[in-house]
Amino acid sequence: MKRLLLLTTLLFASLAAAAGAYHDRDTDSRGVFQVIAKAPAKARDQKNPYEGQPDAVAAGEKLFRQHCAECHGEDAQGRGRAANLRLAGVQNATPGELAWFLRSGNLVHGMPPWAGIPEQRRWQIITYLKSLGIATNSDASVRNVGSAPSSGRPLICLAGHPAVPQPWARTPFGDSVLA
């Protein structure tokens, strides 16, 4: 019984450590979210076989509405904890990084792995996502703001408060709906 208790404690401790290891909206020097940027080099350099194909964009949009829109919104601009997929933190990532992230998910922060749908369909979703482009600061519908490239600060705050300190982005308000 003691051994079982010890194992359970260790399991929860390791989960908590994994959860606290990094904040899911931190970005690297390219402005890509760390959770995506930590893709292995081999995965990062993968090319999207459907890149620029209009049929793949249409198929990807269909798949996005079936699998992703429930959390990320029909417009892909995020909802609640689910990230805005039109932020630079996502859009600046290479197709290979996005493919790796889509396959692996981010279990600790609520993103399920999508390895269960065939690789071809995941590439079609990425083709669609890349076709959306980065949402601009002036876009009134920008929600679930995330971080600006290199700064780690929410985009919506940069316009009015250029001096917002870095730690602000790490607070629970960092991904609040502010617009």
Binding site: C71, S104, G105, L107, G110, P112, W114, G116, Q120
Partner: protein, 309 residues
């Protein structure tokens, strides 16, 4: 004049129909809730009836599933055992599921056979070549349960030949554990389940296995919305059986089955599944037919919470 046996039998039938009539409004409410909360989602699910893959329910989604199994029976009446499942994604790494089981045996009776509560956990936070999932289920059923969701120990078709009146009096509380290993490769899913089941009434551990493989007919999606197209159809097969007990770990004398399967996943979240199964050993049911329907409600947890805010 009615004999004592006939009176007892009619009481039991009335009891069973009372329980089923309790289930009917429950199912009606579940259906109404499904329409109320309807969200257009389609999950990444395998077509398996018995085996489990590492793909859990997406967080916040609720899946309502209703399945049935028809089985031939040596030394007794053939049977149909329907069960209902409510599957909820608590987090991305934890799925919980509640079952309500019943069965009808031809030339015998219809009985409610119990409930089960299962939990599945993903201990590793990333996708790997082989992905483990830990499974724990508490079963509060009777010996009349014929859903055959797993085959363990020396389970035999002759266990199911017992009349409902006798079998349904024997209640069992069981802990079922599984180590689920599963991989995805080029559109295929390969799943291996190792089962350990313990009757909490001082019975020895029983073991079993379930293997599954499946693949969609078409890997890439078409640009046009479609229902009856190859991308929505999954074909596969399962193999499952017992592995004896902790005192006699063996394949000899156990039941073994093989079952091809097909699933049709509609983009609106409804999935239809069908699987004929064939007994490969003498003490296995000669023929099983499973069928079912499931409906996934996206964002159920969020919508439910919004009702109370």
């Amino acid at each position: 004049m009615l004999s004592v046996n006939q009176i007892l039998r009619s009481v039991r039938l009335a009891d069973a129909s009372a329980r089923l009539s309790f289930l009917f409004p429950f199912l009606l409410c579940a259906a109404a809730a499904a329409f109320w909360f309807a969200g257009r989602v389609s999950a990444q699910e395998t077509a398996y009836f018995v085996a489990y893959s590492h793909h859990l329910e997406e967080p916040g989604n609720l899946e309502i599933e209703t399945y049935s199994i028809y089985g031939t029976q040596k030394g007794g009446g053939d049977f149909v055992a329907p069960w209902t499942e409510l599957e909820y994604g608590v987090t991305a790494w934890w799925t919980t599921e509640f079952y309500i089981d019943s069965q009808h045996t031809f030339n015998d009776s219809t009985v409610f056979t119990g409930t089960r509560w299962e939990n599945r956990f993903r201990p590793l936070m990333h996708e790997h070549w082989i992905n483990p999932v830990l499974y724990a289920e508490f079963e509060n059923t009777t010996d009349a349960d014929k859903t055959l969701k797993e085959v363990v120990g020396f389970d035999s078709q002759f266990d199911a030949a017992e009349p409902n009146a006798t079998a349904n009096r024997s209640h069992t509380h069981e802990l079922e554990t599984k180590l689920i290993l599963s991989s995805d490769y080029k559109g295929w899913n390969f799943s291996e389940n190792f089962i350990g089941e313990k009757n909490l009434g001082h019975e020895p551990w029983e073991f079993g296995y379930a293997l599954g493989v499946d693949r969609p007919l078409r890997l890439a999606a078409t640009p046009q919305p479609c229902n009856l197209c190859r991308e929505n159809i999954i074909l596969g097969a399962e193999m499952y059986g017992g592995l004896g007990t902790v005192k006699a770990f063996t394949l000899s004398g156990t039941s073994r089955y093989v079952a091809p399967l097909v699933a049709w996943q509609l983009p609106n979240g409804v999935t239809f599944s069908l699987s004929p199964g064939f007994g490969l050993s003498d003490n296995a049911h000669r023929f099983l037919l499973r069928w079912g329907m499931s409906y996934e409600i996206g964002g159920f947890g969020r919508k439910l919470r919004s009702l109370f805010q």
